[in-house]
């Protein structure tokens, strides 16, 4: 399957999401990978045409939620917020890190190596 990954800047996310939404693309997943900062990948699909938007942020950057556009993004965004500690603002239904209610804070985030 073709892999189509497009790197975008933090501020461009919403405008990209608006145009994809307009073209009828569905959001299929938001994935996060912890490295130096957090790497967010927004995956969209339209009739099996698979597009990924890649966003690289550090722990302090705030990202706009796309849940006003894609209402069901709230689950993915709450998950990433809770597990990775990414700062996502304006989620329509914000669980305030209480989706999974894990006792450890941001368990999936990269931890400082103990010397």
């Amino acid at each position: 399957m073709e892999q189509n990954i497009k790197v975008i800047q933090t501020g461009e996310l919403l405008s990209h999401a608006v145009s994809l939404n307009h073209e009828g693309y569905r959001l299929v997943a938001i994935s996060a990978t912890a490295k130096e900062g957090i790497e967010l990948t927004y995956s969209f699909d339209k009739e099996y045409d698979f597009i990924n938007l890649r966003l690289e942020i550090d722990a302090d950057t705030e990202v706009d939620s796309i849940s006003p556009l894609y209402s069901y993004a709230f689950l993915y965004e709450n998950e990433i917020k809770e597990l990775f500690g990414a700062k996502i603002r304006n989620i329509t239904l914000d669980f305030n890190n209480q989706l999974y209610r894990i006792p450890i804070e941001t368990p999936f985030a990269k931890k400082e190596e103990k010397a």
Partner: protein, 359 residues
């Protein structure tokens, strides 16, 4: 406006095999809003990939869920194979397809039983599961496990099925098809089944599209999304059309799943008649480096496997977007406006797999 009540549903409920909690906001008997609460079985399996090497993780991936176990293993192996650019032998592709379709049958039969149980049709429940037992026996004979197969491996499969056993599977398919026709006639015709499912929880085509529904949930609303049409494994050699229905209610979701079982029987027969002789495994050397998104059609819908490797034997990240996770918003939407007594049926019709959802 009448008074609003909040009723907690779950985490323990007779209809739920796994724990999920919903806060149901009710006006009299009608649900106006549902707020989900998960996290009862979050095990952090995605994080475990940093501790187990990429070959050991095959066994972890299989254990994400007990029902779609094989397809989790297959999705993971396919991602790693794509990253490492490994071409697996044709026979392995066919064997994977056969096991995947058998898994679909066993998952849907399990679900039919659970649905019958949810509306109190106990004997239908027992007979669905009796039929499922035949599929499980095929699994035990060919892989050694009844639920967890441990048979998919990076580069192919670990066990071959002999031509005699394939013939036996073909014969079992005839028996299962006969018994299934008899049993599913009850689902299709019986008035008590129709009474509980017809017109309950209608999800329109537009909503199914806008809420990102997948699998039978989307197909029952008329969206023909089926990843198998993209031709992974041996599906490119087999002839089939995604099964759709247009009603979008619980009855449509039931019929879609029943028809999918018959479709699986047909796909298995096709695969058995076409399977080539040859190797079942390509030797894999070195460590993966790169990233890949794999999309596989599970019984519950499309699953997305994302693997990111860094050239060592430990992967950076494995992310699994499971079908239930995508279907939860659609569930919350269908719950709005339904009566409290229909909530268990509606939750069941998305075929929830909470272990998958939380990983």
């Amino acid at each position: 406006m009448s008074e609003r009540t909040v009723i907690p549903f779950g985490p323990q409920h007779p209809v739920l095999p796994e724990p999920i909690h919903l806060d149901l906001v009710l006006e009299d008997e009608t649900v106006v809003e549902a707020i989900p609460q998960i996290g009862y079985i979050h095990r952090g399996l995605e994080k475990l990939v940093e501790k187990k090497d990429f070959q050991q993780y095959t066994y972890v991936a299989e254990r994400i869920c007990g029902i779609c176990s094989f397809m989790h293993g297959m999705g993971y192996c396919m991602s790693i194979e794509s990253i490492m650019d490994v071409k697996i032998p044709d026979r392995a592709d066919y064997l994977r397809t056969i096991w995947a379709e058998l898994s679909r049958m066993h998952s849907h039969l399990l679900w039919l039983g659970l649905l019958a149980d949810a509306f109190g049709f106990e004997s239908l429940f027992m007979h669905s599961w009796r039929l499922r037992e035949r599929v499980l026996d095929i699994f035990e004979e060919t892989t050694g496990g009844r639920v967890i197969f441990s048979v998919c491996d990076i580069g192919g499969v670990r066990k071959d099925i002999s031509s005699e056993t394939l013939k036996k599977i073909n014969e079992s398919m005839d028996i299962i098809e006969k018994e299934l026709t008899e049993l599913t006639a009850v689902f299709f015709k019986d008035s008590s089944v129709k009474y509980r499912t017809k017109g309950v929880g209608v999800l329109s085509k537009q909503l199914a599209h806008d809420l990102g529904a997948v699998g039978p949930m989307a197909k029952a609303s008329g969206l023909p999304f089926d990843m198998r049409t993209q031709g992974y494994a041996a599906y490119k050699y087999l002839k089939f059309e995604p099964i759709i229905d247009t009603d979008g209610d619980s009855y449509a979701r039931t019929t879609v799943r029943i028809k999918e079982i018959f479709q699986s029987i047909d796909l298995i027969r096709q695969a058995i008649s076409l399977i080539p002789e040859g190797e079942i495994k390509t030797k894999v050397v070195g460590n993966p480096n790169g990233e890949y998104f794999t999309r596989v059609e599970q019984p519950r819908g499309e699953v997305i496997y994302y693997a990111k490797a860094n050239g060592t034997k430990f992967l950076d990240r494995v992310r699994v977007r499971t079908p239930t996770f995508a279907n939860v918003p659609a569930l919350l939407e269908t719950l709005k406006g339904c009566s409290l007594a229909d909530v268990p049926i509606l939750i069941l019709t998305i075929d929830p797999c909470i272990s998958c959802t939380e990983r």
